[in-house]
């Protein structure tokens, strides 16, 4: 481990919440990856004689209105939530880095135009826009990932632009230019690796938001379609039975809460650990 990584870990470990978030995420990953091994029942197997049973030893989290085991459905649902979160954010940081780098490097009118565009995008009530586009394109999981990605890149682009604006004046960039290096190469091979730190923070926080958005979409019926299990749509299907089958509402929501919370904690922890201004405070 090089000294930069070691310093980072030293500061990161200071926050118990951040470490907790990281561990939680690793746990969720483990669970999602081994869903097929852990799940006691087939998530799609219906058995109407077993419908709406409360949590018991045979069915840890109860059964839903079609007799499917909620625990198994939630395990498979974790895969959806995580994959939507990650792919959507991958798309958004790709766009964000592109926009931010170009705006920050070239400056002047390019910067103005791009930032105006960012401001316009920020004015959209994003959830509504996402809903509209999904309604148009159809609620396939790829569409969801794509649309969430296209509407959450703005934060990343601002941070990347800020990094580029400051790094652009540094000596190593001047040297590269003096050597006649092409712009594209300077941007991607030299400046970007140094300016990547805030992107980790925004990426993590954006995953949290993406998971919440996916849950909201599934809740409204525009996310993952039944019978495929997603935490959001288990909640929706349980809406009708809310007074009698509370377990259909409590558990999926709690799972969403825990997952999103751990990503937020991790993101904040990363931010504190990577921010040089906060060093030497305690």
């Amino acid at each position: 481990m090089d000294s930069q990584t070691k310093t980072f870990w030293k500061y990161f470990k200071r926050s118990r919440l951040a470490v907790g978030g990281l561990l939680m995420i690793l746990l969720i990953f483990l669970v999602a990856g081994s869903a097929s091994l852990i799940a006691p029942y087939d998530p799609g197997k219906t058995n109407v004689s077993l419908k709406l049973k409360p949590p018991s030893f045979q069915h840890f989290l109860g059964t839903d209105q079609l007799g499917r085991d909620v625990f198994s459905r939630m395990l498979y649902g974790s895969r959806i939530s995580l994959s939507v979160g990650f792919v959507a954010v991958a798309i958004s940081i790709f766009i964000g880095i592109l926009v931010g780098a170009v705006a920050g490097y070239y400056g002047r009118w390019v910067d103005s135009v791009l930032m105006r565009f960012v401001d316009i995008m920020l004015c959209f009530p994003t959830f509504f826009l996402i809903l509209t586009v999904i309604a148009l394109l159809g609620p396939s999981i790829f569409n969801i990932m794509l649309v969430i990605g296209i509407t959450s890149w703005m934060g990343t682009s601002r941070f990347v632009r800020a990094e580029f604006l400051s790094l652009r004046e540094r000596d190593f960039v001047q040297a590269a230019r003096a050597l006649g290096m092409k712009d594209r190469r300077i941007i991607f091979r030299h400046i970007l690796p140094n300016g990547l730190a805030p992107v980790f923070v925004t990426a993590t926080l954006d995953v949290a938001t993406a998971i919440l958005v996916e849950a909201g979409l599934s809740f409204l019926g525009f996310g993952v379609q039944p019978p495929a299990p997603s935490w959001g749509n288990i909640l929706t299907e349980g809406r009708t039975y809310i007074f009698d089958a509370w377990w259909l509402t409590l558990f999926p929501g709690f799972a969403i809460l825990m997952t999103v919370l751990s990503f937020n904690l991790l993101g904040e922890g990363l931010r504190d650990a990577l921010d040089p201004r906060l060093r030497g405070r305690r």
Binding site: L17, R116, F117, D119, I120, L122, C123, F124, P125, T126, F127, F128, L129, L131, T132, V133, A135, L136, L137, G138, A208, L212, A215, G216, F219, L220, G221, F222, L235, R239, I242, F243, W246, T249, L250, P252, G253, F254, I256, L257, V260, L261, N264, L265, E268
Partner: protein
């Protein structure tokens, strides 16, 4: 000051145009929009032609946009679902949404700022850490889940209906009871809508206050023997308020987006719910108009934030 506001107004207008163009392009040009019907080979060419004329599809793209704008402003845009003018449908409901959002904003600011200051004064103590953790919970909790849990809780506890803007048999009650009923129905959705905002704003206030507290003038104020309340709420807060005002601009899109889910859960007759139903029914004129109107609301909110910013920060006024 006037110059600054004028500039912001112009900028707002340009942004509005940009938003309407982008919305329009997305909705009319995406696959699955009304044009898709014309691709169905079973539909006879005469009908296709008629549809194209109805939707102005035979005209060049930029003209379609302006025609849509014209229809929108003259109130001639009709809903696909029931043929009523779109502006009528929106006009009936928009005040409900505005009411809900306005109350949420009040709640957010009146709770978040004191919480943030409270946390900042007691940095690193147990209460501060508790508050911080609470804020994390607040931004992570799925709104619709919390809504259902609270609905379950209040209905089991009080046995009184919670959904919608008012209960059903309100004709025989006294006006005081009617007002109380309305308030009761307003409470839950606006609080839940406000939770995310409270969490975010209190964190923001806290960090802004922390920066301000370290300044020399605060130390001077304390050394002068001013009461703690005056030091924090009068002197420190004024300077900490700047970044908070900018956050106001970011709060509004979140609230409007959150309205969709809250209004659906609570059967609140607002434009969020109207939008959701319109999306379900593929009612494009309504969807487009609400999209644009939400963006307008956001821009108005930003503009108010800019005005507040000019009031709060004297440096801006003399630019």
């Amino acid at each position: 000051m006037a110059q600054y506001l004028l500039r912001r107004l112009l900028y707002t207008f340009i942004t509005l145009v940009g938003i309407s163009v982008i919305s329009w392009v997305i909705i009319t040009q995406a696959p699955g929009s009304p044009i898709a019907i014309t691709l169905d080979p079973k539909v006879s060419p005469k009908i296709v032609e008629q549809m194209e004329k109805n939707y102005d599809l035979d005209k060049p793209i930029y003209q379609q946009y302006f025609l849509w704008l014209k229809r929108l402003f003259t109130g001639k845009l009709y809903s696909f679902k029931d043929g009523r003018p779109v502006l009528d449908k929106i006009g009936e409901r928009i005040w409900n949404t505005l009411l809900l959002n306005f109350v949420s904003i009040l709640i957010i600011f009146s709770l978040a700022i004191p919480l943030g200051i409270f946390s900042a004064r007691r940095q690193y103590t147990f209460l501060d850490n508790l508050g911080t953790f609470g804020a994390y919970l607040g931004i992570s909790i799925p709104g619709f889940w919390l809504a259902y849990l609270l609905i379950l809780g209040t209905v089991k506890l009080f046995g009184y209906p919670v959904l919608g803007m008012r209960s059903f048999v309100t004709e025989d009650l006294t006006s005081l009871e009617i007002v109380m009923d309305r308030l009761w129905h307003l409470m839950l959705p606006s609080i839940i809508l406000a939770i995310g905002g409270i969490a975010a704003l209190s964190r923001y206030t806290r960090s802004s206050m922390l920066e301000v507290i370290r300044q020399d003038y605060v130390r001077t104020a304390k050394a002068k023997g001013l009461p703690e309340e005056t030091v924090y709420y009068k002197h420190a807060l004024r300077n900490a308020l700047l970044p908070i005002v900018t956050l106001f601009g970011f709060l509004i899109p979140g609230l409007i987006g959150g309205s969709i889910i809250m209004e659906t859960v609570f059967a609140w007759p607002g434009i969020g719910r109207l939008a959701y139903q319109a999306v379900l029914a593929r009612d494009y004129p309504v969807v487009m108009t609400i999209n644009t109107i939400s963006a307008v609301l956001v821009l108005i909110g930003n503009f108010i934030a800019d005005m507040l910013y000019a009031i709060v920060d004297p440096r801006i006024r003399y630019q």
